[in-house]
């Protein structure tokens, strides 16, 4: 469907104009030359309709559409399967570089890439990130465990805690690894259909520890905290510019993971396991969702998209509703997004080896 020549010729004209006008031309002026009028942009979404990532994409689509030159319609095309590897593979294989096909990813797309899943045929480093949406998470325990805060975590040593999980290689890798690093004795029960199902198991008393991402925590767990049924222990934190863990501004009163570890064990977390945890935390939370253009997309097109996303994020309609849909985390656009993903997707061979071994030993994952 993308074989019409108009965008190419427009691009060509834009490029030619750029050359003709010489060096003094600013980036934004070049972006002006890109025009998507009358086109239709396909926003590939490798997840099912109705889930968190789909909602994220459908929230952004009309906002960005308004800001792109020529206001093209942006339609979300869901291609779920293979834990989101399928849609990403199709994007890698088929997307043209005219800016009319973009991809939205999530932690579930980043993790298989980092773990070297055989189903992954895509290369993040080829793509141009224009937006990274971070989120956070809060770890909480049942009041029945008898602890009041992270300072009491030491009391849980030797006690078996139960955690309801979607799978060891899903985003649940973060809590599972965190609990392991802290030295908790975790019995993970798999086969949950989502974090919501895990929370339900917690509410039923079937498990006694759980975590939720920030927005779900605020709307669905906070009432349980107020009733005295759930005790918040820590947030995962956020990464600062130097890659250090800081308190999550949404939960300033909760210690972050490294602090909680220190409260429990009297020293800061170190070693390869903590380094690996931070890598996956970056890919699963700090840059959880990303909007990408395919490889070899001309700079003018990338700039046009970046500008549009920047304006969309600054718009009134974004501000009015983003807190409900995305939580109150700053969106990273353009260079910042690229930087977030550069951090999130950088894993050394040694770390990869370590996490694969850990998964195989602990949870029998076969690679």
């Amino acid at each position: 469907m993308k074989s019409k020549t108009s965008p190419y010729s427009k691009l060509f004209k834009g490029a030619a104009l750029g050359v003709a006008c010489g060096i003094g031309l600013s980036v934004s002026a070049m972006a002006q030359a890109v025009d998507f009028s009358g086109e239709r942009v396909e926003f590939i979404m490798p997840f099912k309709e109705g889930g968190g990532s789909d909602t994220w994409a459908r929230f952004f689509a009309p906002l960005i559409s308004e800001q792109l030159p020529g206001q093209p319609a942006i339609v979300v095309k869901n291609i779920p399967g293979g834990g989101s590897t399928k849609g990403a593979n199709i994007f890698q294989q088929r997307a043209g570089n005219d800016g009319l096909t973009v991809l939205g990813t999530s932690g579930s797309t980043q993790f298989p890439y980092l773990l070297g899943d055989p189903r992954v045929n895509y290369e993040y480093k080829d793509w141009k990130a224009v937006l990274a949406s971070p989120t956070g998470g809060v770890f909480y325990v049942s009041a029945d465990l008898g602890i009041k805060s992270a300072a009491d975590l030491g009391k849980l040593k030797g006690v078996e805690v139960k955690y309801a999980s979607q799978g060891a290689t899903s985003l649940d890798l973060i809590p599972l690894l965190a609990m392991d690093i802290m030295g908790l004795d975790v019995n993970a029960i798999f086969g949950m259909k989502g974090r919501g199902a895990g929370r339900l198991a917690f509410e039923r008393g079937e498990v006694n520890v759980d975590y939720q991402t920030s927005s779900a925590y605020l709307t669905k767990v906070l009432p349980l905290v107020e009733e005295g049924k759930a005790i918040p222990i820590m947030s995962w934190g956020v990464l600062d510019d130097d890659g250090n863990l800081q308190r999550d501004p949404t939960f300033p009163d909760l210690p972050h993971f490294a602090e909680a570890y220190e409260m429990m064990n009297g020293k800061k977390p170190t070693g390869i396991e903590f380094k690996v945890w931070k890598t996956f935390f970056a890919a699963g939370f700090a840059a959880q969702k990303g909007l990408f253009l395919p490889k070899e997309t001309p700079d003018e097109v990338v700039d046009a998209w970046t500008e549009a996303v920047k304006k969309a994020v600054a718009s009134e309609s974004f501000k009015a509703r983003s807190e409900d849909v995305l939580g109150s985390y700053p969106q990273a656009v353009g260079k910042q997004a690229q930087k977030s993903f550069a951090v999130a997707l950088d894993i050394t061979d040694g770390d990869k080896e370590w996490i694969r071994n850990w998964l195989t030993e602990k949870y029998g994952t076969q690679f």
């Binding site: 469907m1 929230f59 979300v76 086969g191 198991a201 509703r321």
Partner: protein, 663 residues
């Protein structure tokens, strides 16, 4: 609370709200009538309109859309034997035979009246139940859900047809096929042969279409007639409404079942219609017409599957956990509108909850009413010669199957399961039993494993588990009595008509042998897994190897009049009738279409298939062929474009950059 009640009432009956609701209903009906699309595709269409709308109007449209999808999908289930969505698979069992008898209008009338009743009942129950639902839902843990899957499985007893061993083996085959893919406990991939498609499991839509729709199409093509045997469409839709009144208690009970199962997060909407259908068979005295056009077989699933939507709202609104695909869409829509589900929906936002519940009721009235009025005309489709209908239906089925995961492998599985369906139909292996096994497989394994992890073996003593245990015992009791009765009847028959009993049992033995091998492979595969990853399939296969061995033994050594011995080629007289095309003939046509899709993509192959089929089989003129082909293609392409759906691409499209629409 009274205040919330009144606020909601005023909102629901305000002019603007009604208008948007009607808009959503219209859209939902138009989409729902097309198999495989359902509410999910509806969202893509609706969403652009939701922006800038005030939340209540947007909500009205969303509810209108979600509420009527299980209503309008009945059209294809009854008229063409194509299950429109997973919620209406059981409707096919008796609805389609009724259409074949020329009673399509009556079946549709009954179905829509039952839908209407179920929808209203669901909303009424919801009004009171939503206030106390939280503790009730929390009482249903993994242990109780596991017991409910067992209850579902016990329905196999009455759906097993004439031979119980065959019924159980068919159910086992469903369980085996349903456990293809990642193991719930360990994530290990079972029986996938390294194939990425199989790793996600075979989609229910594809299985439903393959096992029910394709065998019917092939059967009708072989007989070369219109769907309806009668040229007069007989009694109209009013009779269907009267049927509902006559069987009001059945509809009532099934609506209760729909509400309860729908409200439990985790079981999913695809089980509801089967449990209701099984219940109808169990509690009826005269069962012999079930499966060949008993109106109760239409009333039961239809009254339950609309009540289910009301029930399904409870976990969606209260916990943010959607019970079905359409509820997931509804949830996504709610978040976009700015409504966050959670405990506040029965607190501060109670008026919104009531607005949703009553809008649902109203949408059901509008939707079912519109369908009732339409059914008289739509039923006429069944009088069109089948060779003209078939290419449309096959294209639609392929399109619907492809939407399951947008993968060419969907089409390959469709045809493979279609062939399985044809053979099961031919040799009298009950397909409903197979489908129940398939639908319940993953839930059963997951919940059993989870229940054991949560509570150990002690889960069996939980009060909820014991209560459901009693229900299972009752269900099995009914099943045993049913089997005893039917065998008495058979024994009472003085002489079995020898012409309807196959003498050559070789084809059946080969088929049963192939199924035995499938179980043997499943067992072998389970042995390669860890204990938790393989124990369920190993258990199922071990048991089934014994049962299929019994089937094979009976076929080889047994009495020729044993109920296990069945071959529709003989029973229907095809084997002796040279005018009937061989069974494989139309299978080749289907395989040809799928191979062409693989090579040239959907658009080119469908065009070729249409033209060839119409010219060769329907013997239409060249002009008529051209017009029919073109209109079908334009329709499909427009649909795919508007709804942002992918059409299958072939090797050609991967190799060469083709212009739209070929590419």
């Amino acid at each position: 609370m009274i205040e919330a009640f009144l606020t909601a009432l005023v909102t629901v009956f305000s002019g603007v709200h009604l208008l948007y609701l009607a808009g959503g209903v219209t859209l939902g009906l138009a989409i729902g009538i097309f198999p495989g699309l359902g509410g999910i595709a509806g969202l893509s269409l609706l969403l652009p309109f939701l922006y800038g709308m005030d939340p209540t109007s947007a909500l009205a449209m969303l509810i209108g859309l979600v509420a009527v999808i299980p209503t309008s999908d009945t059209f294809t289930s009854v008229l063409m034997g194509i299950p429109g969505s997973s919620g209406s698979q059981a409707t096919v069992l008796d609805g389609f035979p009724l259409a074949k008898k020329g009673e399509a209008a009556r079946a549709l009338g009954a179905a829509f009246a039952a839908s209407l009743f179920g929808g209203l009942f669901g909303a009424a129950v919801l009004t009171a139940f939503v206030l106390i639902a939280r503790p009730v839902i929390l009482a249903f843990g993994s242990a109780e859900l596991f017991m409910l899957t067992l209850l579902g499985l016990s329905m196999v007893g009455v759906l097993a047809g004439n031979s119980l061993v065959k019924g159980l083996s068919a159910c086992g085959l469903g369980l085996l096929l349903g456990s293809v893919g990642g193991a719930p406990a360990t994530g290990e991939f079972r029986m996938t042969f390294g194939n990425f498609y199989l790793m996600d499991g075979i989609p229910l839509v594809v299985v439903g279409l393959g096992i029910f729709a394709l065998p019917e199409i092939i059967d009708l093509l072989r007989q070369n007639r219109a769907i309806s045997e009668a040229s007069e469409l007989g009694s109209g839709w009013l009779d269907g409404v009267k049927d509902l009144v006559r069987h009001k208690w059945l509809a009532f009970r099934c609506a209760v079942i729909g509400c309860i199962v729908g409200a439990l997060p985790g079981l999913g909407g695809s089980v509801v219609d089967w449990i209701a259908y099984g219940h109808a068979v169990q509690t009826s005295k005269d069962k012999e017409n079930f499966g060949s056009g008993d109106i109760r077989g239409v009333l039961a699933p239809e009254s339950s599957n609309n009540a289910k939507e009301g029930g399904g709202l409870i976990p969606t609104l209260l916990f943010g956990i959607p019970g079905s695909g359409s509820m997931a869409v509804f949830l996504g829509g709610m978040v976009l509108i700015g409504l966050e589900p959670g405990p506040s929906m029965v607190g501060n936002n109670l008026d919104i909850t009531y607005t949703i519940v009553w809008s649902l009721a109203l949408a059901n009235v509008l939707g079912a009413g519109a369908c009732l009025l339409l059914s008289k005309w739509v039923a006429k489709l069944t009088t069109i010669p089948y060779a003209l209908m078939a290419p449309f239906m096959i294209t639609v089925i392929c399109f619907a199957a492809f939407q399951a995961t947008r993968d060419l492998d969907d089409l390959i599985s469709l045809v493979a399961i279609g062939v399985l369906g044809v053979l099961m139909k031919r040799f009298g292996w009950p397909r409903p039993a197979f489908l129940i096994g398939f639908v319940l497989a993953s839930g059963m394994e997951t919940y059993l494993y989870q229940a054991l992890q949560f509570d150990g073996i002690g889960f069996l003593t939980k009060p909820g588990v014991l209560i459901i245990g009693v229900l299972i015992a009752l269900s099995i009791f009914f099943a045993v009595r049913h089997i005893a009765n039917s065998q008495q009847e058979l024994g009472a028959k003085p002489e079995v008509d020898n012409t309807s009993v196959p003498q050559n049992r070789m084809p059946q033995i080969l088929f049963a042998g192939a199924i035995w091998l499938a179980f043997a492979y499943g067992f072998y595969d389970a042995m390669q897994r860890t204990l938790l990853g393989g124990v369920f399939t190993a258990g199922v296969c071990g048991l089934m190897l014994v049962l299929t061995s019994v089937v094979i033994f009976k076929l080889v050594k047994g009495n020729i009049n044993d109920t296990v011995n069945f071959d529709s080629e003989v029973a229907e007289g095809y084997a002796f009738d040279r005018s009937v095309a061989s069974m494989l003939h139309y299978v080749y046509w289907l395989v040809g279409l799928v191979v062409a899709c693989y090579l040239f993509g959907y658009v080119i192959s469908t065009a070729l298939f249409f033209m060839l089929f119409l010219l060769v089989k329907a013997r239409t003129s060249i002009v008529k062929t051209g017009v029919l082909t073109a209109s079908a293609l334009v329709f499909m392409l427009a649909l795919a474009h508007v709804m942002v759906l992918e059409l299958p691409r072939g090797l050609l499209q991967d190799a060469v950059n083709m212009p739209w629409p070929l590419g």
